[in-house]
Symmetry: C2
Subunit: 493 residues, 2 copies
């Protein structure tokens, strides 16, 4: 329906973004925040038509999409608040000291924008992780123009959101080119965007293959640029002995819900569950199995995802020593994903890398370990994860320090007695993690700290107060937090 | 004198570092800080013998080396203070809110260490950017064990510093393997260190070729890891019209000093000076030339650097339209670098990439631009730089906003009416910059913010207060700054 952008068109877009960068970077924090709030308002103004378009393209239910739009608006407005509050700027001031040898000059530092940012949205979140999603909000807050590559699975939704952003840009007198929208179903479009010399950073949410390709292209450039790819994970869950003895049935019911939520189409879906073999674990598996049988298959985001789910699940189930525990009792319609639970031993898991791989959909594999030592061995062989969860009593945690430390070492968010699905939008959220969960464990794509992906420090040495940006002036006209001579303060100098 | 480490030895070292990581990461901020302060004390205890060894290996004068050791000790102790102050942890707490739909869980985030860090020291700073230098100090503060690859040009100095660190480690009851020292003159040793699966980050200071090779190896790993390579730059200086009219002679004298300081062997050496052709610029060039003639050649760090200086300088001087302005009047002895000034037009500079390249040593090229438009064009073609300097009146800056913004866009530290040499150790310092000055413009290698290169956020969701690390407990027992429900505070919860 939409034609792929040509390389000439992409060049044109990036040239305009580059011009816009030199204007937009000078806009105040307040102006950037106002623009972001205006985008939120325009998303609301896009009304039911936007929801219906997204329903048609994504197969997601109306309530979910209304909730996701509200979440997207909350991201925009809460990151706008953070943008204005200015803590993300990491303003530091060291005043001059002429009595030192050699004399110490006046030095002041703050974060400034990197330049045009290319954003690749996710198939599973047409609003919150797409065109006006977290990456776009973070880049705009940082002072970077944004170029969004529409996800082909919801290109019309993306187009409508892009129009809403452009409306907000016009209302807020933003420079031409502060936001651009590019279509492209082919890999060439993505590659042309990432390798264009005016592109200065990339945000991506999606598959390992997609995210890693962008990362490699970016690093092979003459001038490498930072890429934050969030590439999903299997989000291991660890069932500890005392906890399981107390509440195997409750935990199984809770997890049946988390595994099948949204037809399992979340990057925080719990795909691996580890426990110590025995009666308690058996009770957990039995309960989880009977719960899963009662969950109806759901229509997946698009036929390609449904096909991949079936193929990847069948591949996992066909591995030696993997046993299918339960499948939904209901026959699936076309493009529906069937909730499925399987099981294998710790030994099988250690010997077979296929069992470590994410199966995107309502599937989870329960690993029965011989003992805590084998479980520790398993953890030490796990790849980087967005989340890890302990179902554990305080005693379980205190008595298994090595295991808990080993889990900490592989995850970005560490949950106790909860489920990994559900990513709260707040400053303390970390949605990231060691490779291959992301391409840089030092950054997050959820929460206002995500702004820092798209900004870099710059130090001003020996500048006149009147020529410094407001953020660093003696009088602190913006009233922001700054570290002055090693002390955090809002005071004037 | 020292044998290259074998791949078996390197594997052994990294296995020990990996074990040490699981211990050292649990050490409190206070314990880490104490270790760092103890290293500073042991550097002092190494006494005159350390200084004499460094003099013999580096050809650097005694006063410089005593000053550099003091700087290194200050880095260790001031980063230790910052480590304990804990602002670098970016502690964030969002408390639970059960009235929200869905209920908001308690989430708390802080930075945790990445794992073993490999450090490659610089030839030109045997103390401050080497074995116990800024990268080592930052990694230890972050909670990471360090493996230093000794610079072959000062391997004996490095060995002595390593012994001082190991003494401090023993005194402070640090785990075996918290610090390791590896020799190697061959590229293979560096590659084996960077590509070892237990290596989780790399710090490097040196040449573009060296730093870029490490970056590429790290990104080609199965699990890519962050590399911060500081690769030097040409540190452009811009002479603005009003300033030059007022003080061409004073500026020329100041720069003759900066260009030849330490035989020009600083990554912040001003290698390119831009001005608008005319009488004032000619006066600047004439004065700079006569000053340079009076500066004696100095012995360079080692014969390889002296040879490279001569070759690179001769290559630059042999380019079409490049004119030698002045050389030191004094004949050089073996391995001495001859202070040299050359000049070319803006047009020649725009057309010849060779003129953009760093010539490491006491050399600077003055570019005569036709007018401010050509100067702007030149700036837009400059590569990323550690520093850029404006010699300018306030009027010059106000009247040339486009030019000033274009310069800002390419540098990490932006100086007005000063010289780029001299990198103050303080929190507001940014020693970094867009590629190719470094491999990641978002990080610094000087100042306590450099700790963040070696740490990543991790979020704790729904943990019992008693099981949280002290940094995140309700009572704030460490008394650190934390952002609680979006408000920066030291208060308890």
């Amino acid at each position: 329906m939409f034609k792929d952008a040509t390389s000439q068109e992409i060049d044109q877009v990036l040239n305009t973004s580059w011009q816009a960068f030199h204007q937009y970077r000078k806009y105040s924090l307040k102006d950037r925040a106002q623009f972001m709030r205006s985008i939120a308002a325009e998303l609301e103004n896009a009304g039911d038509e936007l929801i219906q378009t997204a329903m048609r393209e994504s197969n997601l239910p109306e309530a979910r999409l209304r909730g996701e739009r509200a979440r997207t608006m909350f991201q925009l407005t809460s990151y706008a608040d953070a943008c204005e509050r200015g803590e993300w700027l990491e303003a530091r001031i060291d005043t001059a000291n002429s009595t030192k040898t050699p004399p110490k000059p006046d030095i002041r530092k703050m974060l400034i924008p990197l330049g045009p940012v290319v954003v690749f949205g996710a198939s599973n979140f047409p609003f919150a992780y797409s065109t006006a999603g977290g990456d776009t909000a973070c880049a705009l807050a940082a002072g970077c123009p944004v170029i969004v590559k529409a996800h082909p699975a919801h290109a019309q939704t993306s187009e409508m959101v892009a129009q809403a952003i452009l409306k907000a840009a016009a209302k807020c007198n933003m420079p031409n080119g502060v936001f651009a929208h590019v279509h492209g179903a082919s890999q060439e479009v993505g590659k042309a965007l990432v390798t264009h010399p005016h592109t200065k950073a990339v945000g991506f949410t999606g598959s390992y293959l997609g995210g890693k390709a962008l990362f490699d292209w970016a690093n092979q450039r003459k001038e490498p640029i930072p890429v934050f790819s969030e590439m999903g994970s299997v989000n291991p869950v660890f069932l500890f002995p005392e906890k399981l003895k107390q509440s195997a049935v409750e935990v199984a019911k809770q997890y049946a819900g988390s595994i099948t939520l949204g037809v399992g189409q979340f990057c925080t879906n719990p795909g691996l569950i580890f426990g110590i073999d025995g009666d308690d674990l058996q009770q957990f598996i039995d309960t989880l199995g009977s719960e899963i049988k009662a969950v109806n298959p759901g229509t997946m985001l698009h036929p390609g995802i449904a096909k991949n789910y079936l193929e990847n699940k069948n591949k996992a189930l066909a591995q030696a020593q993997v046993q299918t525990i339960a499948e939904s009792n209901t026959q699936p319609a076309a493009n529906q994903g069937v909730p499925t639970i399987a099981s294998a031993t710790g030994e099988a898991f250690l010997n077979n890398p296929v069992l470590h791989q994410e199966v995107f959909g309502p599937y989870s594999l329960v690993i029965r370990c011989k003992d805590l030592n084998e479980l520790l061995e398993v953890v030490r062989h796990l790849e980087g994860q967005l989340t890890a969860t302990l179902m554990a009593t305080d005693n379980d945690i205190i008595n298994n320090d090595d295991l808990v430390e080993a889990v900490k070492n592989i995850c970005g968010r560490f949950i106790v007695n909860g489920v990994p699905t559900g990513v709260e939008v707040c400053l303390s959220m970390h949605h990231g993690g060691p490779f291959p969960a992301t391409t840089d464990s030092r950054f997050t794509s959820v929460g206002a700290d995500g702004i820092k992906r798209f900004a870099r420090p710059m130090a001003y040495q020996n500048w006149s107060d009147s020529l410094l940006p407001d953020e660093l002036k003696n009088g602190n006209p913006l009233g922001i937090w700054r570290t002055v001579n090693d002390v955090l303060t809002k005071d004037k100098i």
